[in-house]
Symmetry: C2
Subunit: 281 residues, 2 copies
């Protein structure tokens, strides 16, 4: 296993490091960002939060725009930030649309051609990446949190609901809650799963809740009410499913806020507090 | 005077707003970013900090990557972020190099053809932009601070030294301190001033200090010692000039830190405290 350091940067007494490795799940080289707090640099085993970004973002976006590192450093928590899709797979048309292919892996394992060989983001972010980063750094496999935004919020919900044994804490900003009912999700699921409607259900957070899947702990969900994509995100569907099945979901709405990182940076502090309580409490 | 709102985003109970206006100094449309803290939205007159970014950045970069808004909001301070050059002036070759023309205005008023008609960033950031933003928002013209990074650090130093009556507080991250002695500066000054060596002296912060120019208050300067551009920034030259002339310069060096926004976000809090002391103390 060869891991190349692309760059590293001191930040809040710790280090932000960008890495590249050959991913076995994705079958291509994959880049990621990691934050190592001061404690981890001196060998202490620390909790870790994985962050899944939204459409068009990459492995740097959430780290540089969300203000997360300030608070991860304060609490001595590592951060892992994967890319939002495989890149340069050679699949025809992968760079054509912003909402399919490159930058739009939707954190699922594709089963339909031509995507199925490389577009295995669910297994990558849920299995390969935690194992890789925990082999490289003193991150505690029993104290993993996951945060996601938009498409990445959907990815974080899928991870938390389908694999609650992998994650201890989960929080999301403006997640895609019911992908099988909206244009983005329909387009992606149609491409990645083809006619297999069973798969559509397995990757729809609202349907997962309806079908009895349980998160490892209370999900914190922040949603701006001036979000330009609100109709496509459908937080109400997720709330209804959680109420119906008695699952733990704490939703906070914010009157004036929209979809981007200005919103995320305004509330990231509360999210880190939420994870700290679960990971260090 | 027509000012167009390009977008606005709630952030920390205030608003980040992106604007475009026809600049009389630049002779083209110019974009900028503004942060209005909650207090300003309810009409209270607040202090304001202008931020000048470095090469290749634009009017959004410093706002989204530096974490400045968190602390500006905490202290009820406005922020104004101009672009780093005029854009789309039609000057031949303006987009050719990263360090000349677009994204590289160096915050000077060019005097040589073909740049002199549009490349008037000194007058733009020092006169037109404060007047414009103070006519639009309740920003206090008697309580202006200025922060700059790299090329923008040079711009902030030029403003503070040549026009101390305009600014009350100044701080810089990894500024270009002696442009007339380094490749970036020589290339830019040669293009923007041609053979006029008098101009070279007027826009070199170290020479300005040597020639008796005085800042309005103590300059705070942070510099990382792993900065990949350290040899081109020459903070030692500025320090020597300040010592020689007894000018107020507080320099802090940081062993592990490099040139980018990971460095800036690690220390922005201290910079805002520095400005708060001078603007609100």
């Amino acid at each position: 296993m060869t891991v190349t350091t692309l760059s590293e940067h001191a930040c809040f007494d710790g280090v932000v490091r960008f890495l590249e490795h050959q991913s076995s799940e994705l079958g291509v080289g994959a880049k990621l960002g990691v934050f190592l707090p001061q404690e981890a640099l001196s060998g202490k085993v620390v909790p870790v939060i994985h962050v899944l970004a939204g459409l068009t973002a990459n492995y740097e976006t959430f780290l540089i725009k969300s203000n997360i590192i300030r608070f991860a450093a304060q609490h001595g928590i590592g951060v892992v930030a994967p890319d939002t899709s495989p890149r340069n797979t050679g699949i025809e048309g992968e760079d054509k649309d912003y909402d399919l292919g490159s930058g739009a892996g939707f954190y699922v394992d594709a089963t339909a051609e031509p995507w199925s060989k490389h577009y295995r983001m669910e297994s990558y972010v849920g299995k390969e990446l935690p194992l890789l980063t925990e082999s490289l750094f003193p991150f505690d496999a029993t104290r993993r949190g996951i945060i996601g935004h938009s498409m990445g919020g959907m990815g974080a919900l899928i991870q938390a609901l389908r694999y609650p044994e992998r994650w201890k804490t989960v929080s999301v900003f403006a997640p895609i809650c019911a992908p099988s009912r909206i244009p983005w999700g329909k387009k992606a699921f149609d491409a990645y799963f083809g006619g297999d409607l069973q798969k559509w259900e397995e990757y729809d957070p609202t349907i997962l809740l309806e079908n009895g899947y349980k998160p490892p702990s209370t999900i914190l969900l922040d949603q701006g009410l001036k979000d330009q994509y609100l109709a496509d995100l459908k937080p109400d569907a997720l709330v209804a499913a959680a109420q119906q099945t008695g699952q733990r979901l704490q939703v906070r709405t914010h009157e004036a806020y929209d979809h981007g990182y200005w919103f995320i940076q305004s509330f990231i502090h509360d999210h880190i507090e939420h994870h700290v309580k679960g990971l260090k409490g």
